[in-house]
Symmetry: C2
Subunit: 454 residues, 2 copies
């Protein structure tokens, strides 16, 4: 039966299939020959899942037509299946029925569909607004080095890739040649952070801002307004967790790589700060890098792995278990230590079903990473373990950063990465639900029984 | 204020301090000189926490007096603070008051104290019964190679070390010289498994067995009895999970190390099976090894890390997050996938507070492993990452297995391991509660609010 999760997974697979076929064509490669199937499949999956893992050099291997296909796949994958499915329904002129609403709601876990048509328009509008602004700002940087036309194309590509947290680059060394450019670091960081923070947070901030601006002439009202700020729990958790993780990541990477001769060693203090900041931002599942990740020490790589696994925020273009899941897990631990039996976050109680979902997401994610790490470790026994773990977490959290082992992996390991990227993007719970089908409802009540734990 | 968790932690620290002082003495070393402080502290902590991590060769570095001290520390640490504290109270002739009862109950997470004196007697009786049986059986093996007296001492030491899942050995190569001896593998495996499965499970099985034996002459009654078996949820989960993990571990290690030239390569098929089985058993936090763990491939080490992290069962001498915690996490994931809002295990509902506790134990454990891995990776940057991860998980889950890096670590990293062993043995929740003190009770009710997750 074509259940809702199955429809979503199949839709995703359909886009990947079309992308693979297009990238397979001789027009997509720079040498005009048919692309090997593994390369086409891997690149298409990586683009649709906005991961950014690559096994060939994007700028030299693909033609401009190939680059355009990759960019389109990123845009379709990044705007998400939610907008895609909703858009499709609007195009077909059909009204939403309840079942479809639930499907869309499940897909991106939104709290409700209030006017699907309007929401899709807002999301598309937001994406294009940021992407166009990003393009303009990047154009001023790239045109100095590459001229007007080539600079514009580079600006378009990197703006879309950054907003969608895709990590694909038209430079062979990602953004390493701009590692000390403050303007580029600023623009790309902003695109990554806003793209990965979720539409809802931006909408909520926008509504608050316009409300403030409307009463700009009345300072007293503004102060009262500021005191009454009623941001949602989602807003508070996402912004605070993102902020803390960004700063913590910067400080930790600065600590571990400060004297590392290959990573930050030869730079000045403020350059080190910029490098640590950007690498902390990119671990929010973006996947660009301004320093060779392969030159990081074990401790730096391990910190990156932890940051990538947590990932970005829900409702955006980011992957990972998400900041909200992380905070709920931390909240459970804190409550248990305090002997409370409810989980509180910002004076709001977290519903029990949400606790279960957070645990399920984390367990499922860890299980996926565990399986794919073991499989790749078996297939490629000579590769350093932390590089494999970095690779699988990066693929699962749709980050796309790599220590440089991807292209040298066996074909089997590459397929494992393809499946991992897919599972990470559609979400392990949705994927499992798609495989298992709709559960039969059961109303049998069973008695409670205690257990020894821990 | 001396809260209950603090009392328990301090009691543990007191035993470690006494052990450190005793092992410091010149009588404890084989060369008759004062032991370096780091070695005394590390060995005492490792023995009291029944971990088995070593930084010097136990048989050659310590004198027989030193070996006796280590054995006593293992016995005190292994029988647990629960029996120790209870025993202390009995010795002092005081009656249990409610507060002490709760302390003991919290310490080992027992479901209730029904006659503390009787329970302590049963636990001690059980331990000595298994240890004496183990000693006798091991004596038959060791006396052939080491004579009657030396063989007896070896049998006593390894029997107590195995039952308490301590992993200390009087052989420099652990049990590698007996790697193909079926009797030794059988005896040690049995001691490890029963020691790590928890007293309750053994008591429950014993009660069921005696009940069956009492009605041995009435086969009809026996069949009806067998059908009515009302084992506790704890019994069912512990036995089934232990069984599955033992078999799964054997199969997985057989797969990854089958052709590994250094690990299982040169052995026959049934010898490979025996080696895989023993290494799977020892990952239940025992810490003996019959093959060089350092020769394992990355995939084999990673499987061992997963097995060690799950660890043994509560109420026994084993460490790790425990089999029950693991099953509850799996149960939450399954329920979420089925769209249920309660967690069912064997047709019994798991109470919400237990779900929270399982999550807290896991998050706390992962956090501890993450911190100590990062610290050691910073202090010893040249060591292979998987060896560090193996070391910290092994220390936290009180396993004591090592890829051979322990003695070469910096003093700082050794201290990190000491703290990790301690945190792993007293339990991260209890330790945090001891540090934070009693929480102030709060009855304020906060409204629920939904969140985006995963
Ligand atoms: K990415
Ligand atoms: K042990």
């Amino acid at each position: 039966m074509l259940t809702v999760p199955r429809t979503i997974c199949l839709g995703f697979l359909a886009v990947i299939t079309v992308g693979t076929l297009l990238l397979w064509l001789p027009w997509s490669t720079s040498n005009g020959q048919w692309n090997p199937f593994v390369i086409a499949l891997f690149t298409a999956t990586s683009a649709v899942c906005v991961t950014g893992h690559i096994i060939v050099d994007t700028p030299t291997h693909f033609s401009t037509f190939g680059h355009l296909i990759i960019l389109l796949l990123i845009q379709v994958g990044g705007l998400g299946y939610m907008t895609a499915t909703t858009f499709l329904i609007i195009l077909l002129g059909r009204k939403f029925n309840l079942r479809q609403k639930i499907a869309v709601q499940q897909a991106l876990d939104r709290r409700g569909i209030q006017g699907a048509r309007q929401l899709v328009r807002s999301i598309l509008g937001l994406a294009f607004l940021f992407e166009i602004t990003g393009t303009l700002l990047l154009w001023f940087i790239f045109r100095q080095d590459y001229g007007d036309l080539r600079g514009l194309w580079l600006a378009v590509f990197h703006s879309i890739s950054a907003w969608n947290n895709a990590g694909f680059s038209l430079f062979s060394d990602s953004l390493m040649s701009y590692q000390t450019s403050v303007p580029l670091n600023f623009v790309i960081s902003a695109l990554i952070i806003f793209g990965g923070i979720g539409y809802e947070v931006i909408f909520e901030f926008y509504l608050w801002l316009t409300d403030c601006l409307r009463h700009w002439g009345r300072p007293r009202y503004l102060v009262r307004k500021a005191r009454q700020m009623t941001f949602s729990l989602n807003f508070k958790i996402v912004t605070s967790t993102t902020g803390v993780l960004l700063i913590l990541g910067t400080v930790m990477l600065l600590l571990t790589e400060f004297r590392s001769p290959e990573a930050f060693g030869q730079f000045s203090l403020d350059q080190k700060l910029l490098l640590a900041w950007f690498q902390s931002v990119t671990a929010r599942t973006a996947g660009f890098n301004t320093v060779d990740i392969g030159s990081f020490r074990n401790s730096g790589l391990f910190i990156m792995i932890a940051l990538m696994f947590i990932g970005g925020s829900p409702g955006g273009t980011a992957g990972g278990i998400k900041t909200t899941t992380f905070r709920i897990l931390a909240g459970i631990t804190k409550s248990t230590l305090q002997g409370k039996d409810v989980v509180l976050l910002y004076r709001r109680q977290v519903p029990p079903t949400l606790i279960m979902k957070a645990v399920a997401v984390t367990v499922g994610s860890m299980f996926t990473v565990l399986i794919s790490t073991t499989l790749i470790a078996i297939a490629d026994p000579e590769i350093n373990f932390i590089n494999i773990l970095f690779e699988t977490v990066s693929a699962f959290a749709t980050v796309g950063l790599s220590t440089g082992i991807t292209s040298g992996l066996t074909v089997f390991s590459k397929f494992v990465l393809v499946v991992t990227m897919f599972a990470g993007r559609v979400g392990i719970l949705l994927l499992m639900a798609a495989i298992m089908g709709d559960p039969r409802p059961s109303n049998i009540q069973y008695p409670e029984e205690n257990l020894l734990v821990g």
